[in-house]
């Protein structure tokens, strides 16, 4: 096995290990780990807010609430 392969593999190890650590550092320092409650709601928007279910069988008309929150319950963890 030639030296180039070793260098390539070592460089890969350092690069990918390094970027993972850097990503963790970035996440911690840029506030990604703060305000988690708000973060968990980042996938909802005004059109599909918390409390709105978004999937049913194509031929089904839901006969009762898909979701209890549709009765107005709010979620807090």
């Amino acid at each position: 096995m030639n030296a180039l392969v070793y260098i390539l593999l070592a460089a890969g190890l350092i690069f990918f290990g390094g970027t993972t650590l850097a990503a963790f550092y970035w996440a911690a320092s840029s506030g990604q780990f703060r305000n988690l409650e708000e973060g968990s709601r980042s996938i909802f928007d005004g059109d599909e807010p918390v409390g709105t279910a978004t999937d049913v069988f194509a031929d089904k008309k839901a006969s009762r609430p898909l979701h209890r929150a549709s009765a107005g319950r709010t979620f807090s963890t």
Binding site: F44, G51, S63
Partner: protein
């Protein structure tokens, strides 16, 4: 009440239009990857059936070298792992990336090139394996000319992911996105390193086994698992309209997976000619996997809790929750299988095959089906043609995989105990598994049925056949009502 951080003024109508735009932008790449995934799923299923039947009737179709067990079995593994599961995962991941970056998909040329390279790679690889050109390295059987194509495709997708992330709209990075970035960036590295060390500039001796299982296990844990979990962490809350139970735990789960998983592979080598510390460290890391597994299990269960009746209404949720439950099951099973005293019984038996199907099928594939049921109508702008087909698909695949895992588990345990018994000859130990292998072939027929039903459903949707449906899951329709509005 919009939750996007940077849009102080936004209306539901704007949000809806924006989401439709993002979904639409992913259409061509997602359809390319999904389409090839479904095609290779059918091919892979065919090889699976052949390989399974050969267990019941060893001389079945063995007059042609091309169709002998030693080639059909790796052809099955590679067709479903790289032909079906990976493109299905990539298609899902592309759509998730666009939604989570909150910008339309850009540089789709990179992805289209990747899809082309990908399919050429799979075609060459399967052809290579069948013609006797395959490598006897599990998970890396593809000959060099095929794995190189896959590497190019992986590379293009990784570059695209970095560009996408770079130009995302600022705001919170949702947990699914962490999983996706990890998969996109780590996997090309794993794949290239393993291929270099095993195929291009092969290292010698036992170290090959170590590299083999470092790769083989990481392919499951750092490629398929993150994509499956990313989809579950997005779809379950989104379908239910309920944020994840404990977001803190989900973040902890991701970083502990990142920390522990890559150590796990050596537990495949328990009892082999390897330094004891290497295997022991891996067994300990396997135990540590309880942390990401339990956090994920708690989160998914607690998010759905109280809304299990929704499984009746939502195809996406039904498949995804089934998959999420099987993630817990297969992970816990895997952790126990790493304990040397249990490994002694299960290693080199059909039990391991059952575990592999529990992980890649009952967990990953079911979540991919669930994702497709959610994503495709939004991307194509057309509803699934028939709820009946979806129900058939679900029950055939759920019962099929259930029977398969149970059969292989029992058969494998009996086989393993017989193997350890000095009073039982090797040939006699195989007899214990025989009836269970017959049952496994039966379950394979159920799964084949499920895949055909799904392929029909998929084709009808993509071709936009039938009457246009107006349903709540339709993408971009003005009449699209929310499910609550349908309640009488």
């Amino acid at each position: 009440m919009s939750m996007t951080f940077d849009h102080p003024v936004t209306t539901p109508e704007l949000d809806k239009a924006e989401r439709a735009l993002i979904d639409e932008s992913t259409r061509i790449p997602v359809l390319l990857f999904y389409g090839s995934a479904v095609f290779w799923l059918l091919i892979g299923t065919l090889f699976a059936l052949l390989a399974s039947f050969k267990m019941n009737a060893p001389h079945f179709l063995d007059q042609w070298g091309w169709l002998t067990f030693g080639r059909v079995r790796p052809a099955h593994l590679n067709a479903v792992a790289y032909g079906w599961a990976s493109p299905a995962g990539i298609g899902t991941a592309l759509w998730l990336m666009a939604r989570l970056c909150r910008v339309p998909l850009r540089n789709s040329g990179l992805l289209i090139c990747a899809a082309i390279f990908w399919n050429i790679g799979i075609l060459l690889g399967i052809f290579g394996i069948l013609s006797g050109d395959g490598r006897s390295i599990e998970w890396l059987e593809f000959p060099n000319y095929a794995s190189f194509m896959l590497f190019v495709a992986f590379g293009l997708i990784a570059v695209w992911a970095v560009i996408m992330f770079r130009f995302r709209r600022p705001g919170h990075v949702y947990v699914s996105q962490w999983y996706l970035l990890a998969a996109f960036l780590w996997f090309p590295w794993l794949y290239s390193t393993a291929n270099i060390l095993l195929n291009f500039e092969p290292i010698q001796g036992g170290a090959q086994g170590a590299v083999n299982w470092w790769y083989g296990h990481n392919a499951l844990g750092l490629w398929f698992t993150p994509i499956g979990l990313a989809a579950a962490y997005y779809l379950i809350p989104k379908v239910l309209g309920r944020p994840i139970h404990s977001y803190y735990l989900s973040i902890l789960g991701f970083w502990s997976l990142a920390l522990f998983y890559s150590w796990n592979g050596m537990h495949h080598l328990i009892g082999g000619p390897f330094p004891a510390w290497l295997v022991s460290a891996s067994v300990v890391a396997s135990m540590m996997m309880f942390i990401p597994v339990i956090t994920t299990a708690i989160n998914h269960h607690m998010t759905v809790r109280g809304n299990f009746h929704a499984l009746k209404w939502s195809p996406t949720l039904r498949f995804t929750v089934f998959g999420a439950m099987c993630y817990t099951l297969s992970s816990v099973q895997g952790i126990f299988m790493a304990i040397p005293s249990l490994n002694k019984v299960t290693h080199f038996t059909h039990y391991t095959v059952g575990h592999a199907h529990l992980g890649l099928y009952a967990f990953f594939t079911m979540i991919m089906f669930g994702s497709m049921y959610y994503i495709l109508p939004r991307v194509v702008g057309w509803e699934w043609p028939s709820a009946r087909l979806i129900r058939w698909h679900f029950w055939l695949s759920a019962i099929g995989i259930g029977v398969m895992v149970i059969a292989l588990t029992i058969g494998g345990l009996l086989q393993g105990l017989a193997l350890l018994d000095p009073g039982v000859t090797f040939m006699a130990s195989l007899d214990y598994a025989k009836p269970w292998l017959l049952l496994r072939s039966g379950s394979g027929i159920l799964l084949t049925g499920a895949h055909i039903v799904f392929a029909v459903s998929f084709t009808l949707l993509v071709l936009k056949t039938g009457k246009r449906r107006e349903g709540p899951t339709l993408f971009g329709t003005d009449q699209g009502e929310q499910p609550e509005a349908l309640i009488p």
